[in-house]
């Protein structure tokens, strides 16, 4: 399959420091030739490197707002986290109307998609014989993390689309029902993170197609200067507390109602929970909400507001909009027929951690790695450009690095070489062996040899 990503490196800004390589949850970054390099196979687009980089050399490649102009009928899909960027006293009808002012013709809330999806998840969880805990598929970085690092948990992943996917399909379906031709309709996500940009780019060419992913930060910046000119149109806002809650960690499980559910946020925390799931702990947990960013989507790297303040906004908004507007049975029937809950792409193990396709060779490589590891210092300093000593050993065995990339091994080798030179220099050729000629091993306190 083709890999498309949204996290990139600005070579000019990268100083080749090693902050990012240690922070990357899938060890996807190496510093080579003084610049960070991202391995596309391993990258989950989680954005940890963007957060960590002191030089702001990593960035998320999003689409500019102007991209919407190439479509006759433009629909904005604001992420629930987008609401939390504004002070909670600002009515959401104003924020959504503001999007129309920026050039969109219609707004469909991803929070509404979340409410509809939540009902479907509840239905799904009632089935017998599920592999528990079912892991949420809402965060694309988490889905990719499972594919790259936890292939044995693929069966645990919820086989339903994300709130974004559901919202995109319903929005397009409605536009087509209104009589617009498929090529006229542009559906755009206002995204809190790069992982969602990637999800948008992989949305395919069908009903769920997302024509662009525009950074939440850039839309916020455009909107904040015009918001005072915008009228509050309360009818634009359909989603209530259940959907809005998805902006932050815990909101998803809350929207499912009572049950043995759990929520984990922050990709390194997610990894430690998944490790527990792999060894069979967490018995009794039915559903696991997992988000790559600390705090959930409000913690996305494209957010403007501090995630903890954004959480306060979410909580206030949930109280303010404590409504739940159901949909009709007929609507659901149409949606089901249109397969709005189906995922565009099936989950697949990436197997990038395999050392070799050939089993025997993989075994041999593993042994080589173990042998090399014994000679490495075990400090995981990152000076070689690989995140850990083990990662360097793997890189060496895979032919992607050299032993002497390790400054400790380099120094050991130089010391060894110096000793050899020293030993050789001490061996004086017979013809030079003359009285008075200084021996390298001799005393330096004596007088210099004079002819």
């Amino acid at each position: 399959m083709d890999i498309c990503h949204s996290v990139f490196l600005d070579e000019e800004k990268c100083k080749g420091c090693t902050h990012c390589i240690r922070r990357c949850p899938t060890e996807a970054i190496r510093v080579k030739g003084g610049k960070a390099r991202i391995d596309e196979e391993r990258c989950t687009d989680c954005g940890e490197c963007i957060r960590t980089c002191p030089n702001h050399a990593k960035y998320a490649q999003t689409d500019p707002l102007e991209i919407i102009e190439s479509f006759a009928y433009r629909i904005a899909l604001p992420a629930p986290a987008f609401y939390a960027q504004f002070k909670f006293t600002i009515p959401l009808g104003k924020v959504l109307n503001g999007l129309l002012r920026l050039g969109f013709h219609e707004v469909f809330e991803v929070a509404r998609g979340a409410e509809i999806l939540a009902a479907e998840i509840t239905r799904f969880l009632e089935q017998k014989g599920l592999t528990l805990p079912v892991i949420s598929s809402a965060c694309p970085a988490v889905v990719r993390l499972v594919e790259v690092k936890f292939p044995s948990l693929l069966d645990n992943l919820l086989p339903l689309d994300s709130p974004l996917g559901v919202a995109a399909k319903i929005a397009r379906l409605r536009a087509l029902q209104k009589g617009y031709r498929p090529e006229e309709v542009g559906v755009f996500f206002i995204t809190p993170c790069p992982a969602k940009v990637t999800e948008a780019r992989q949305s395919g060419g069908g009903l769920g197609r997302i024509d662009g992913a525009i950074s939440m930060a850039s839309v916020y910046t455009r909107l904040i200067n015009e918001l005072h000119l915008v009228e509050d149109v309360p009818d634009l806002q359909i989603a209530g507390f259940k959907g809005i809650g998805w902006a932050r960690s815990g909101g998803e499980q809350e929207s499912l109602g009572e049950g043995e559910y759990m929520a984990v946020d922050g990709i390194h925390n997610v990894i430690s929970v998944f490790e527990k799931i792999e060894v069979g702990e967490l018995k009794g947990v039915v559903y696991c909400e997992a988000q790559a960013c600390v705090g959930g989507c409000v913690g996305g790297v494209l957010a403007v507001q501090n995630p903890f303040i954004a959480k306060v906004n979410v909580n206030h908004l949930m109280k303010k909009y404590s409504v739940f507007r159901p949909w009709s049975r007929e609507e659901m029937e149409v949606w089901r027929k249109a397969r709005i809950f189906n995922r565009e792409r099936a989950y697949e193990a990436k197997e990038v951690l395999k050392l070799d396709r050939d089993f025997q060779k993989a075994m041999e490589k593993y042994q080589q790695i173990e042998r090399l590891l014994e000679r490495l210092p075990g400090l995981d300093c990152g000076a070689c450009g690989s995140p850990t000593c083990r990662a360097l050993a793997e890189d060496v065995v895979q032919g992607r690095a050299e032993e002497v990339d390790c400054p400790f091994l380099l120094r050991d080798n130089m010391l060894e070489l110096a000793r050899e030179i020293y030993a050789l220099a001490s061996k004086v050729p017979q013809t030079m062996s003359r009285k008075g000629r200084e021996d390298i091993g001799g005393s330096h306190s004596g007088p210099c040899a004079t002819p």
């Binding site: 292939p151 044995s152 693929l154 490790e275 792999e278 060894v279 069979g280 018995k283 193990a349 197997e351 951690l353 395999k354 050392l355 070799d356 396709r357 089993f359 025997q360 993989a362 075994m363 593993y366 042994q367």
Partner: protein, 146 residues
């Protein structure tokens, strides 16, 4: 065990009561199986059983040694501990039966599924136990998965 020479041998010490490092050995084993390329579902059952065996030492015993022999289509694990032993093995195999003291159970460990889980996940399980001396768990796993 087969006559075939194992390609990888792993030997690690486990200390009883060391909850800080509990699970490290099975994590290491998981990484090895993943890197070599065993099918994920196979690795998962091996790791679950290895984790249970490792945790049994941490919860019940004074100390133990974990050994794994990795063959191309087969994994052999032996966990040998010095500890109290299991007085009634048949009872210990019953789901929910546990000899773990209440303070350990309160922490969420020792729920009494260890042995039955090991049995479920492995293809062959043998337990040799002497009360007051220790327990040896021997497990074999054969790759049946595609």
């Amino acid at each position: 065990m087969t006559d075939e020479k194992p390609l990888i041998e792993l030997e690690r010490r486990i200390n009883g009561g060391d909850f800080q490092s509990a699970g490290d050995v099975s994590s290491e084993l998981k990484r090895i199986l993943q890197q070599i390329g065993f099918p994920p579902s196979f690795s998962r059952r091996v790791v679950i059983a290895a984790y249970e065996a490792e945790m049994n030492v941490v919860i019940h015993a004074w100390r133990g040694v974990f050994r794994a022999w990795i063959f191309p289509r087969h994994i052999h694990i032996e966990v040998d501990d010095e500890g109290p032993g299991i007085p009634d093995l048949e009872l210990a195999f019953q789901e929910g039966y546990s000899t773990a003291p209440p303070h350990i159970r309160e922490m969420g460990f020792g729920a009494g599924y260890g042995l039955s889980n090991m049995k479920k996940c492995s293809d062959h399980l043998e337990i040799d136990t002497r009360v007051g001396e220790g327990t040896k768990v021997i497990m074999d796993f054969f790759v049946r998965e595609a």
